[in-house]
């Protein structure tokens, strides 16, 4: 099922939930809505589900305009953050509920529920009540209930945020696998950029009710079109510093207090063409501590992450996050030299926060 969202605006009184959103989702695609809380991603999802009515704009499922179509007539399945399992019903009754409402014959209901439950690996739990299940099992029941009516569209509202880290990893894989298997168009709302990056075919990054970017994960990572996207995608986040880029002797120099770095030709040229200061962004993995680095700094704090250490280095007034192998034994207070991989830096317009390198 193709989903077409055109100029969608949803307001609650004077409060804007989402404004002028245009998004085209292909049949069978897995799209993640990524953004901080309050960015309008859940509002969009609930509008797609028919729980909210659009204030303006149009939503089409395939060719059908669904603006005024009731949720029950949209043939969608949805998994909620809280799972929203009906506590007074058994697992079987929970999964069978959509079928019961469709007036599917009892024996077919039983068959389909058993089938879905087996796929979800909860075939032996059908007589239990939700209160007797673990978080992961509840999650599977919720997924089963969404799948049992063979929906055209699957909607996920932060479904993994209530699970522990280990289970989240397992379920992440399972959901992705299942979605590819069934080929159901899916929209997945999350604030966890790792989830979005690993699962989605394309990610719609939202902020303040506006769409920031809509692209494949690696594209968002390597060619962020706004400073917000650059900062939100990637963990640990990109470092930003305000610099002036100038051209001297055919070379491009990015300069600010205590920093003076040479930028490669393409990127430097674009940045130098910009009048005034620009925001330079550089990812932690593009900064190395190395003896022959040319920027001197002092280690402020070292956070061991196990495989590697996250190190905060202060260079004058600036602070840079970077990663170093766990075998390195840096200590806070140590003086170090930094080497910047200037071929991978990003530049943003400080006013519009748009990328100077990649125009939309």
């Amino acid at each position: 099922m193709r989903i077409t969202i055109d100029n969608l605006t949803k307001k609650f009184g004077d409060v804007v939930g989402v404004e002028d959103l245009t998004l085209h989702i292909d049949d069978g695609e897995f799209v993640a809505f990524l953004g901080p809380s309050g960015c309008g991603k859940t509002t969009t999802l609930l509008t797609l589900a028919g729980i909210y009515k659009p204030t303006e704009g149009q939503i089409r499922f395939g060719e059908r305009v669904v603006n005024q179509v009731q949720p029950k007539d949209r043939n969608i399945g949805m998994v909620f953050q809280s799972y929203a399992l009906y506590p007074h019903m058994t697992v079987f009754q929970n999964i069978a509920y959509p079928l019961k409402l469709k007036k599917v014959a009892k024996n077919i209901q039983r068959e389909r529920v058993q089938q879905v439950a087996n796929v979800m690996g909860i075939g032996n739990l059908l007589d239990r009540r939700p209160g007797q299940l673990s978080g992961g099992q509840q999650q599977r029941v919720a997924l089963g209930r969404a799948l049992v009516k063979e929906p055209d569209v699957l909607l996920f509202d932060e479904p993994l945020s209530n699970l522990d880290a280990r289970l989240r990893l397992t379920m992440r894989g399972e959901i992705k696998h299942l979605q590819k298997d069934l080929g159901i168009t899916s929209i997945y709302v999350t604030h966890d950029q790792v989830e979005a990056m690993t699962m989605a075919d394309r990610i719609a990054v939202m902020n303040g009710g506006h769409l920031q970017a809509f692209d494949a994960p690696d594209e968002l990572y390597s060619r962020p079109k706004t400073q917000f996207v650059a900062g939100f995608v990637g963990n640990p986040p990109m470092n930003f510093v305000s610099v002036e880029v100038s051209r001297s002797n055919g070379r491009f120099i990015a300069e600010t207090d205590r920093l003076r770095l040479e930028v490669g030709g393409d990127r430097g040229g674009a940045a130098a063409g910009f009048a005034g200061a620009v925001v330079m962004g550089i990812r932690p993995e593009d900064i190395q501590i190395s003896g022959d680095g040319d920027i001197a700094g002092e280690i402020y704090v070292v956070e061991p992450l196990g495989r590697e250490d996250l190190i905060d280095v202060r260079v004058g007034p600036h602070s840079f996050l970077l990663l170093a192998g766990a075998e390195t034994q840096y200590r806070a207070g140590e003086e170090v030299k930094l080497a910047f991989d200037m071929d991978k830096v990003q530049f943003f317009d400080p006013q519009t926060e748009k990328s100077i390198l990649w125009q939309q």
């Binding site: 729980i51 009515k53 303006e56 704009g57 149009q58 603006n67 005024q68």
Partner: protein, 323 residues
Amino acid sequence: MSILKPKGGQSQSSRNALRSYLGAYGFMAPAGVLVIVFFLIPVAIVLYLSVTNLASSNFTSDLAKMEFVGLRNYETLLNDQFARKIFFNTIFYVLFTLSIFNVSAALIVSLLTTHIDRNAGFLFRALWILPRITSPVVYILIWKRMMAEAPFGIINQFNEFLGQPTYNYVATNPWVFVIVVNGFIGISFGMIIFTSAIESIPKDLLNASLVDGSSKLQRIRYVILPLIRWPLLFVVTYQTLSLLTSFVEIQLLTDGGPGLYRTEVWSLTAFHRALSNYFGNAQWGYGSAFAVLLVLIGVVLAVVYMRVFRFDELIAEPRVEVL
């Protein structure tokens, strides 16, 4: 903004809005009809009656045939030498019963019963509910026996036993008993609300305060009381209105006496005038004037409470737009 907006989208959506309202009104209908039939229409009728001179001597059930007398009933009421006394009686009754029993004693009882063994707490609360679930006739019978003169009265029997003088409490302290009798009924409402509020305070919070080194009394003062502020306000509001309109117990206990209107309250007057006049002549018109003023006071109080306690903050916007 959108050029893709479907034709007629606006009218379609307003039609949908209407349909969705119809759904809501469907849910509201039974309550709405009952409220209209048994509250709004009666209030309209009582307003109308208050400007007629309907009494048992010229009774008619046909509203059109009643004799219109304008505001004469209200004039009579304002010039009634006892109206002022009854008005202050009412304030006195509500103020004292509410503050001593319905709020303070209820709070003390719920604090006490939540700080003892759970089952014992249940038992004590069950005993406190007795006045509310006993038939008023029997409940008042008990209190009449409590305050009766020697040798029948229970209190006077204790007085004699202790070598104290005995009293005719009905004559000497009628208000004390009116307030105590109503207060003992009133305790249970606040007790239930407060107890359930205290029970719903997370146990972690209660334990944390003890770990932090506060005594049980300090915990009540600094943790529990601030957390049950809302139910406190709710009980104050709800019980003021309840007390304003309650009169059955007073009617059975003292019937407004002894003497002239000594313990008469406003709602009892409305009842007396309209239904059980001393002279056997029910003055429905005049009684309605009392009722109208009481309705007015109740409404004004309720509105004030809603403003002060910001009840409308409770009315969150629905987060589903489905019919």
